[in-house]
């Protein structure tokens, strides 16, 4: 297979902190690869190494077949970078930001202007093109960030937490843009702490925690890996909820969770579901929904790392002090 990004044994330390503790990655060309992990897991450090901004203490990496240290200049001609730490100039207008990048990439004045105009149109920023970027909303700002990294038509795009802090609508817009880029053949390395985002966009996901890849696979493989399925039962009548809870709990042998009138319980035994159906029938309870579900990525993450994503304040502080 043809890999746009390869990394072997990347190690990077900041003083006593080990941000990367031996990371291997292989991203096939033309795919979206998700690096999923909480704050401080080492995702941004990995992106900075791959984008030639930071040297790894150990290990090596190539982008488009070029070594990120020895052939850094070639790598920079292939990549685009958008993220928490790579940003546009807030004092310039949207147009000026794109012109600046175009000119730096060696486009003529006219070509830079044409490219800037086209990107502003594509990203629905035409009306805001002559306003300083600091007046932009969060969603517009991210779109401009992304547009700026696309001026040179990169083959490999690094998106470092592209939707952190965005409202759902802006997030969906950004996702659509990423999907259309991939349809055009761009390889995307996406870091995110949102499991849903990785699930939505990435063909393959590496779960990162404390500087290591602790699991890797397609979203489905990851969900299957932790084995768990869950049984969800929603009674047609809310008054039956306590009875359903006791029946499901008794059959599964575990106390079920209740949310939005739905009773959920993890199941490992295939006989649980028919038994629950039989008992509900005997009790005369009509159910509106009864389903056996694969576990969500959230549950996968919890079972892999022992903690939920997005709630690791100690690690977040660590990353803050490193950056």
């Amino acid at each position: 297979m043809d890999y746009a990004i390869r990394a072997e044994g990347l190690v990077r330390r900041f003083g006593a902190t080990t941000a990367l503790a031996g990371v291997d990655l292989a991203v096939p060309t033309g795919t979206v690869f998700g690096l999923l992990g909480p704050n401080g897991a080492g995702k941004t450090t990995a992106v900075r190494v791959l984008a030639t901004l930071l040297r790894a203490d150990e290990g090596r990496a190539t982008v488009g077949g070029y070594d990120v240290v020895r052939d850094a200049h070639q790598v920079r001609q292939l990549i685009g970078l958008t993220g928490q730490y790579a940003s546009v100039d807030e004092t310039l207008t949207g147009t000026e930001n794109l012109l600046l990048i175009g000119r730096l990439l060696g486009l003529s004045r006219a070509d830079s202007r044409a490219r800037a105009g086209q990107l502003l149109t594509d990203f629905q920023l035409t009306d805001a093109g002559d306003r300083a970027a600091k007046t932009y909303s969060g969603g517009m700002r991210r779109r401009l960030d992304l547009a700026a990294s696309l001026v040179g038509r990169p083959q490999v795009l690094f998106l470092d937490e592209p939707t952190t802090g965005l409202d759902p609508r802006s997030r969906n817009e950004l996702w659509d843009i990423v999907r259309s880029l991939v349809a055009d053949g761009v390889t995307v390395l996406l870091t995110t702490q949102y499991l849903e985002e990785a699930d939505q966009l990435a063909g393959e996901i590496a779960v990162v925690d404390h500087g290591r890849v602790i699991a890797q696979g397609t979203p489905e493989e990851l969900k299957a890996k932790t084995g768990g399925q869950s049984l969800a039962v929603r009674p047609a009548d809310v008054v039956d909820l306590p009875t359903v809870v006791s029946i499901v709990g008794a059959v599964a042998g575990v106390a079920p969770e209740v949310a939005q009138n739905t009773v959920t319980v993890p199941v490992n035994d295939q006989r649980v579901m028919p038994a629950v159906v039989r008992r509900l029938d005997e009790a005369g309870i009509v159910v509106a929904e009864l389903a056996l579900r694969g576990s969500s990525l959230d549950e996968v993450f919890l079972s892999l790392t022992g903690h939920r994503a997005e709630d690791d304040p100690a690690a977040a502080n660590l990353e803050g002090s490193v950056a």
């Binding site: 001609q77 940003s87 100039d89 310039l92 990439l105 060696g106 990294s149």
Partner: protein, 269 residues
């Protein structure tokens, strides 16, 4: 360039020429200067503050120090120019720190451009701003009665010396810019260091009026040396001595601070 060459080349170039680096530097200098258009406050900073200093010093202190505002202007304008130049160099560190903390610097570093161009572009732009405020100071001074003693050649020499000195002093500013955590701290540093530095010189007051222990510092203070050189070039008095001393100071500052600043920047990013 045709649209076909807009797509990323299959075989990326191996290295950059110096010409490309200079072109990147000019583009990045444009970026720093076009900011002024959107932030008129910056232009006020560059213009009003120096003009205010000339007016205040001339009319408030002039009579007390030199007997008349006109005589004082002749003495103090070169000093005010030097003080302004020292403060102006801080904009380099301020802007650089802003780029570092906001992530603009990382975006630039991920582009296939000359490694030195972001810094060079910023310093070039700041040199242009510096030249603007010096021109403004001399212009306002001339309206108030300041006269050039050595004609256009002296003026040219003064500009050249100031810019050379500023280029050296910019490295101090770069070092501060990479060491502090946020842009405002660059300004705090500027006030805490540059204010005492420029006031313990003969920029505004003749050395003889100060206590002996202070005089020995005032005489070697680079602000004094540079102010004397500008007095020689713009008004009258010795030129060669203070100019050579100024250049020695500039060289010493560059030799000490340029490597420290570059090392600091490498560690920061």
């Amino acid at each position: 360039m045709t649209s076909a060459t807009l797509t990323a080349p299959l075989a990326p170039a191996r290295r950059l020429g110096v010409g490309a680096g200079l072109r990147h530097t000019l583009t990045l200098a444009w970026r720093s200067l076009v900011q002024i258009k959107h932030n008129p406050m910056e232009l006020l900073d560059l213009s009003i503050q120096p003009v205010m200093f000339v007016l205040l010093f001339t009319y408030v202190f002039g009579g007390a120090i030199s007997g008349s505002p006109g005589d004082y202007l002749k003495f103090a304008l070169p000093g005010i120019i030097v003080q302004n130049a020292f403060f102006a160099t801080m904009t380099t560190g301020f802007g650089l720190n802003n780029d570092l903390t906001k992530g603009v610097f990382d975006r630039l570093r991920a582009l296939p451009i000359a490694r030195w161009s972001p810094l060079a572009g910023r310093i070039l732009a700041d040199t242009v701003k510096q030249a603007w405020s010096v021109a403004l100071l001399i212009g306002v001074g001339m309206i108030l009665g300041f006269r050039l003693g050595n004609g256009p050649l002296g003026l040219l020499g003064a500009f050249a010396l100031l810019l050379a000195f500023s280029l050296a002093a910019a490295w101090i500013s770069v070092l501060v810019g990479v060491l502090v955590s946020e842009p405002d701290k660059v300004q705090i540093f500027g006030f805490m260091v540059i204010f005492p530095l420029t006031f313990t010189s003969n920029a505004f007051v003749p050395t003889e009026t100060m206590p002996g222990w202070l005089q020995s510092w005032v005489e070697v203070n680079p602000v004094t040396v540079l102010a004397d050189a500008l007095r020689g070039l713009l008004v009258d008095g010795p030129v060669a001595g203070p100019v050579v001393q100024s250049l020695i100071w500039a060289a010493a500052i560059a030799v000490i601070f340029a490597p420290l600043a570059v090392r600091g920047l490498r560690r920061r990013v």
